[in-house]
Every structure is written in structure tokens, then in C-alpha cells.
């Protein structure tokens, strides 16, 4: 390549930033899993110092000079070099577009907003939060204006979490999804409900842990490079090139929540483990490329694989052996129906695989309208309840189980929700390609050979880390643009079958 020296400078900055990001990840992981309660103030100061170093490096004049000197469309660059230039340029350009006062205002609005949200949710009273949310929405709009957009201010917000995603594209893929899922849900609701009470018996935590670790191991979760512990909210984080950590939680009423949470985070971890390899090790490229692609992997492992007939064909006899008193009298078929039970409900994080999509579509529609001004904050609770009624068929009895249930808006995360369902769409589209290229994949799963599925995913997706932007990666792997039909087909066939719909 030309400008070898400049690229070496960028690489050395990247190494330092990556090490600092890993250090911050450890500080955060430890706070959620190990730190004594009173450590919180000291930890905030440590994190703020390290985050400050990262910010200073990412916005330094050195990065500016390198951004100007290095061109990502320089044909003498390798894909890896182009990607590194692309990422730092993008981050630098996005950062300098935001006036400092706006950054400070937003930081203030978020920290106050989260406190107010927590109190309002506790008091079950949206009015205690509404002025804070109004301020956040105003600032988010200012962010969109500062970042710039071609068609819709929401594009600028979306793009922060999912590079290249637009309001139009989300609308296009959500439209058929909304129609199909609503129809499917209505048909399911008209059927007799399945029994899943056996999932709510007492399952000893140590045995749940043992079973979860066995599944992770089979998935290719390498315990010499990865780690699982417990925290209140499960998450995945990358603490080093060979140190990927997930958490799970066992104090759930049902035995299925911790297990599927473990598999979900395990999917994120496999992506991160594969993304750190000979080519990308220790660079910004050694991580999943976007929220949606990440979520595609966690959901593919959790739902498409983990809740499938094939998976339980292999695992159910082992599960029964570990939990004989709880499951001896439950048939494999009944178990699979239980873990796939569909039931309209208020809370997104507890939603089943079908109605989950509608919870997200609701948030997408409402937050888009908040940003354009078509919906005012004061009308939000009523709009929430109306949309719940029309989309999911239930109406919250309170703000706490309705409009106040999620932390996202109070944390300034607007444009983030769609990535959860985009993950479903990406995941089904990837899976369909895998089934074409690896026609025996379902047999492999039924024989417990999860690592062979993992190898395909690693070869086609994980190993590229952040080298290709999300939609380019999708095109490279599946040969086509994002298309919701694969997920719709998967979901419809699965639940028609489970609920005996014709």
C-alpha cells in the first residue's frame, strides 16, 4: 500500500485504544459480577479516566491527520486495512460533528433521565419522567441534525447502532413481518393453550449450571478462552483477545429462562471468539460488526437452534437424566411445546419468540413518531397502550408494565430497539444459507454436533469480525439484500406445526 508509515501509526493507535477498551470492559464486567457494593463510586472514577483516554485518542489531531492522509477507497489497501481506516474515519467524523455543548447536555439529560425513569417506574407514574424524556427527545433530534441524514432524521440515529441502516429499509422489512406475525399470533391465541407448568418447578442451580456449561462446550464455547459467571442482567463482553465473558442468572421462576439466556449469550460469545483470530487479533476489527449481526447470532443459537426439535432430540434425554424428578413424566414433545409457548404479554424481555417482534415494531413506530414530532411525549402513554391493544391484543394496567418498562429511552438509546428484530431477520437469512450449503445441518444438531454448525458460522461470519460493514457481510454470505421472508417462513412453519394450525 501507499502511505505505509501512516497506516503503521494508525495501527499503533488502534492497539492502544483496543487495550484501553478491554480494560474498560473488565472494569464494567467486574462491577456487575464481583465488586463489593460500596465500590461503585471508585469504579465510576476509574472508568471515567479510562473512557476519557479513549475519547481523547479517538478524537486526537493524530487521528484527524491520519483520516485525511489515508483513504479507505485506496485500491492498494487490503480489506483489513480499508476496514480499519473506515472505522476510525467514521468514528472521528461522527464525533466532530456533534458540538461539545450538545454532548454535555445529552450526558446530563441521560444521567438525570435514568434516575427519573427509575423513580417514575417505581412510583408507576409516567408524569414524573415525561419532562426528562422531552428533553432527551429534543436533544436526540439535535443529534440527528448534527450528524446529518438524507431522508429521515431517524436515519441518523439508527445509523449510530447499525451502520447503513435507514428508516425506509426498516419500514420495508418490518411491514410484511408485522402483517404475518400479527396473523400468526391471532391464530395461535385461538388455540388451546399449552401446559408449561413443569418448567416452574424447583431445579437446583448447580445442576442448571452444569447443563448450561455442557451445552456451551458443545457449541464451541472454549472455556480456556471464555468464561461464564452470574450477574443480575445477562451480558457478553470482550476483556481480551482470548478472554470473552458471558453472564447468566439463575434466580428465575422457570428453568428455561437461565438456559436460553446462557445459549443466547453463548451465541454472542462465539461471534467474539471467532472475530479474534490471526488476522484481526488485538485490533478494532476483532469484534462483531454491528448490533443486528450480533443479535442475529445470539438469536440464531437461542431460538432457531436452541428451541428446535433437533436440539432437544439430542439434549432432552440428558436433561431428563439430570432432572429426573422434574421431567420424568414430561414427554419430549410436551417439553418442546412448553419452551416455545406463545402468549401475548406486557413485558418485552419476557415475550415469546412470536410476539417479541411486535413489541419491537411498537417501539420503532413510537420512537420514530417522537423524533419527527408526530407524537408528543404527553401523548406517549396513550399511544403505547393503543398500539399494544392493536398489535398484541393486551393493554397494560399501569405505566410500569407499559411505557416505563425499558431503560433505553432514559439512557438516550433511540434508534437501538430495531436492531433486536433486525437480528431475527439477519439470523434467519444466514441460517437459510447455512442449510443450503450444509444440507445435513439439522441432522448434525440432532446428533449434538453443534460445533459443526459453529464452524460454518465461524468460517462465513465470525472470522471476519468487523472487516465488512453489516449489509456487505450479509450480501457476501447470503448473496442477497436483507429480506424478511426467511424469518417469516421460519416462524410461521415452526408455530403452525407446534400449535397444529393448518
Amino acid at each position: 500500500m501507499h502511505k505505509k508509515k501512516e497506516f503503521e501509526s494508525l495501527k499503533s493507535l488502534d492497539t492502544e485504544i483496543t487495550l484501553l477498551e478491554q480494560t474498560a470492559a473488565l472494569l464494567e464486567w467486574d462491577e456487575e459480577t464481583q465488586m463489593p457494593r460500596e465500590g461503585v463510586q471508585g469504579r465510576a472514577e476509574q472508568l471515567s479516566l479510562i473512557r476519557g483516554y479513549i475519547y481523547d485518542k479517538k478524537t486526537s489531531s493524530q487521528i484527524e491527520d491520519l483520516s485525511i492522509a489515508l483513504q479507505q477507497d485506496d485500491d492498494t489497501c487490503s480489506d483489513v486495512q480499508k476496514a480499519m481506516i473506515r472505522i476510525y474515519r467514521r468514528e472521528y467524523e461522527q464525533t466532530i460533528k456533534i458540538p461539545k455543548q450538545l454532548v454535555l447536555d445529552m450526558s446530563d439529560a441521560k444521567s438525570k433521565g435514568q434516575v427519573a425513569w427509575a423513580q417514575a417506574r417505581k412510583a408507576d407514574d409516567f408524569s414524573q419522567f415525561s419532562s426528562y424524556l422531552e428533553r432527551i427527545i429534543t436533544l436526540e433530534r439535535a443529534y440527528a441534525d448534527a450528524l446529518g441524514y438524507e431522508e429521515h432524521p431517524y436515519d441518523a440515529l439508527l445509523d449510530q447502532y447499525e451502520q447503513g441502516m435507514t428508516t425506509q429499509l426498516v419500514t420495508d422489512v418490518f411491514k410484511p413481518l408485522k402483517k404475518s406475525v400479527s396473523t400468526l399470533l391471532a391464530r395461535i391465541v385461538s388455540q388451546p393453550q399449552v401446559d408449561d407448568t413443569f418448567l416452574y418447578e424447583s431445579y437446583p442451580k448447580e445442576l442448571q449450571d452444569k447443563f448450561g456449561r455442557m451445552v456451551l462446550q458443545n457449541m464451541g464455547f472454549d472455556f480456556s478462552r471464555a468464561h461464564m459467571s452470574e450477574s443480575v442482567h445477562p451480558f457478553t463482553t470482550t476483556v481480551g483477545p482470548d478472554d470473552i465473558r458471558i453472564t447468566t442468572r439463575y434466580d428465575e421462576p422457570s428453568v428455561s429462562s437461565p438456559l436460553f439466556s446462557t445459549i443466547h449469550e453463548g451465541g454472542h460469545a462465539l461471534y467474539e471468539l471467532g472475530a479474534s483470530n490471526r488476522i484481526t487479533r488485538g485490533t478494532v476489527l476483532a469484534q462483531g460488526v454491528s448490533m443486528s449481526v450480533h443479535e442475529s447470532q445470539s438469536r440464531l443459537w437461542e431460538n432457531i437452534i436452541g428451541r428446535s426439535d433437533e436440539f432437544w432430540h439430542y439434549y432432552y434425554p440428558q436433561m431428563q437424566k439430570i432432572f429426573p424428578s422434574q421431567l420424568a413424566d414430561v414427554s419430549q414433545e410436551a417439553f418442546i411445546r412448553g419452551i416455545n409457548k406463545v402468549e401475548p404479554s406486557m413485558i418485552r424481555v419476557n415475550a415469546d419468540e412470536v410476539s417479541y417482534n411486535l413489541h419491537i415494531i411498537l417501539r420503532f413506530e413510537l420512537e420514530k413518531a417522537l423524533i419527527t414530532g408526530d407524537l408528543s411525549v404527553k401523548d406517549l402513554p396513550a399511544a403505547w397502550n393503543d398500539t399494544m391493544k392493536s398489535l398484541i391484543g393486551v393493554v397494560p394496567n399501569s405505566d410500569a408494565e407499559g411505557v416505563l418498562q425499558d431503560v433505553h429511552w432514559s439512557a438516550g438509546l433511540i434508534g437501538y430497539f430495531p436492531t433486536y428484530v433486525l437480528g431475527n431477520l439477519f439470523g434467519a437469512q444466514f441460517y437459510r444459507t447455512m442449510c443450503q450449503q450444509l444440507p445435513n445441518s439439522q441432522d448434525m444438531i440432532a446428533r449434538g454436533e453443534l460445533q459443526r454448525v459453529g464452524s460454518w458460522l465461524n468460517h462465513n461470519i465470525y472470522q471476519y469480525g468487523s472487516i465488512y460493514p453489516p449489509q456487505d457481510l450479509l450480501m457476501r454470505v447470503t448473496g442477497e439484500r436483507l429480506n424478511s421472508s426467511y424469518f417469516i417462513t421460519y416462524l410461521t412453519e415452526k408455530y403452525q406445526n407446534l400449535y397444529g394450525l393448518t
Copy 2:
């Protein structure tokens, strides 16, 4: 004070250095307790980055300018201000005295030395390590010359770990100690040996952990500001102003090792917890002042308190209740004799409270002779064995259980060993003052009121953190210079009584 602005600059540098030190402490703690095996390379890079930042800040021209501008004997300064100036000046001056090439050579010698030592120990062959040790000794002598000393080159090395300590002072306090302990040991060895086989039965780990945590809690180990987990080698570290961590290990043949290890680290932790307070919080002063004073606290809690009659008067009935099948038939007296069993042996880390002192005196004499050149490395194994024979009365059968047993010399830690026994001396001298000022302290211990003892220690020692240099602190608390007679009296009376010597 004069130069308020300069002092504010020093404080702000200190805050940043302290936060970086805490971050490094977490990276290290995590490596020993949580990190997956393959994470080691990435962790080394993260630590090297953070340690590099610390080094750069401590040796920056800003520190140099502040060192010149700020005088620690400026009478307008508070004790806290003087201490902060003293510490940064000292560190800066020590650092700039060492030529860069010597730092690099030593770093290389240590990293190669530790590898060679581990291999030599495994092969049980000192000759594989001797040339590495020769190089380290040569470099240590060069360090001593660079740092400078008044009387003895070993002074310069000692002073690195224990500010103000000299070869002459150690010699003065070790001389009567050596004589008394040798005599005591010889008398004990002539007595019938006590039975401690009951300590080697099977004690479930969860119950050991429960008992250890109960003792810690009573000592004043505040679990909302402190944390205990497991690691191969027990240690204490400070991860934040309200986040002090200890580790213990349970896979020991006896039940007493993990418990006394927990109490020992608990003593270190109480010191660190007390050292971080309203006055010192978030500064370099919020930590124990020296190796010897730190060790005085861990040993005071472990041995003087934890292995005493009074302690077990309160705790033995509870211990018996938790471990009925192991201890129902063991009297309190027999238990106390068991945990205080004295038996000459080869390995320092397993040594009893009496012979431990002789293991250290041996190392002090040998390393002093290595530094002066009175002893050559090739003659070291023979000198080791001869001294073992004359001091402790046993001779190692191999290099591995003799001269190769400790990692210290291979890690360049010469001048460090004496702090372990100095800790015994400081501890007994502090304890004697406590018994004078708090005449009921033994009754308190016998009633399990360990926190009242902890309060005295906190009020007189812990709360000062690093404000006063170690020997000044000793003088403030006990009113006299270091004096080995208190430890000698304590040890002699205790073991005369236990072994029925007259």
C-alpha cells in the same frame, strides 16, 4: 501553605496515578482469580500499557518541577501534604538515579531468571539457575551503587521495600532474636511432639468458607467494602477506595492453613480498609505504609490473636458445632496445641511461628553475603544447607526443597525477606502497647469482640495510611524504637506454656 497551586497540581497527578494503580490492581486480581487460561498474553499487554502510563506520570517533568518547587519540610504544610510530597519526591529521585540501561538489563534478567528458576526447581538442579542468579546479583549490586548508601550496599536494597531500614538495624534486632528462638526451638524439639492429625481430616470446603467469613466479619472485614475469593497463592489487593480484596485457598491438606491464611489476609485488608478514609481517600496515602508494617498486621491477626487461647475460647465451640464429626472428640486444649505445633522443616511457607524466624534470618545472612561478595553463587547451595543445619537442625535432601524453594531471588527481590520477620517484631511491639492502653483486650478477644481490638488498631495505625514513615509511626504509637524483646517475650512465654517448658 505556600505554593497552593503547585500542591493542587501534585494532587491531581496523584489522583490519576491512584486510579491507574487501582485499575492495574484489578487486572492483576482478575488474572489470579477469574481470567480464562489463554487470556494471559492479552492481560500482559493491558498491564504493560497501564503500568507504562503510571511510570510516565511518576517520572514526568511535571513531577520533577513539583518536586523542586514543593519542600516536604515546609512548615506551612499539613502532615498529609508533607507525606504526599515525601512519597512522590522519593519515588522520583529513586527512579532517576537508575540508568535506563540498568532498568532494561534488570527487567531482562528477572524475566529470564524466573523461567530458569522454575525449570531448575522442577529439575531439582541449582546449576541450571546459577548463572542467572549471578547476573541478578551483579545487577542488584549495580542498583545499590546507583541508589547510593551510607554504610552497606544492602541498605539501598532494603530501603526499597522498607523505607529507613538499614542492615545495621536489622542485624541489631535479629541478633537477640536468633539466639532466643534457637534456644526455644531446641527446647521444644526435646519435648514429646503434639498430635495434630485431626487437622488433616476431611473438612468440607463450603463449611470452611462459612467459618472463615464469620471470623472475617467479626474482625471488622466489611463485606460491603471488601471481597474474598479463591486463588492459588493467597494475597490482598486494593482495587478501589471501597474495594479491598483478599483471596484464600482451600485445597490444602490441613483445615488450619486456609483459615489462618484467611485471617492473615484479613489483617492486611483491615489495614487497607482503615487506610482509605475521609482524609486519605483516593490518594497515594490510602494504603499501608510499608511491607513490615503491613506484615505486622497480618501476623498480629493471624498468630498473636488467631492462634491464641482467648480466640479459641470463643471460637472453638462454634468450630466444633460446624465440624462435629471431625472435632467432637478433640478438646479445646488439644486443638490449640495442634494449630501451634512446632516442628523444624525445610520449607519456609509451611514453617511454624517459631522456626519461621530462623528461615528468614538464614535468607538475610545469605543474601547480604551475596551482595557484598563474601559468598559466591556457586557456594550458595552448600552455604544454604550448612546454615539450615546449624539454625534449624535439618538439612534439605535436594535443591528444590532447599535453596530453590522461593521465587524471590529470581524475581530480583533482594532485601525483601527481612520484612517478614520485621513484621513479627513491629506486630508484637504494637500489640504490647495495645495491651497497655486497652487492658481488657484479651477479655474482648475471649468474648469474640474482635472489632474492639480492630478499632484500636484502626485508630492508632490504620487510619494514618502512609502519612508517617514506618519507624516514625512505630515511635508515635509505641513511644520507642524497634525492639525485638517484645516479640521474643511473647514467643517464649507462649511456647513455654504450650510445650510445658520450665
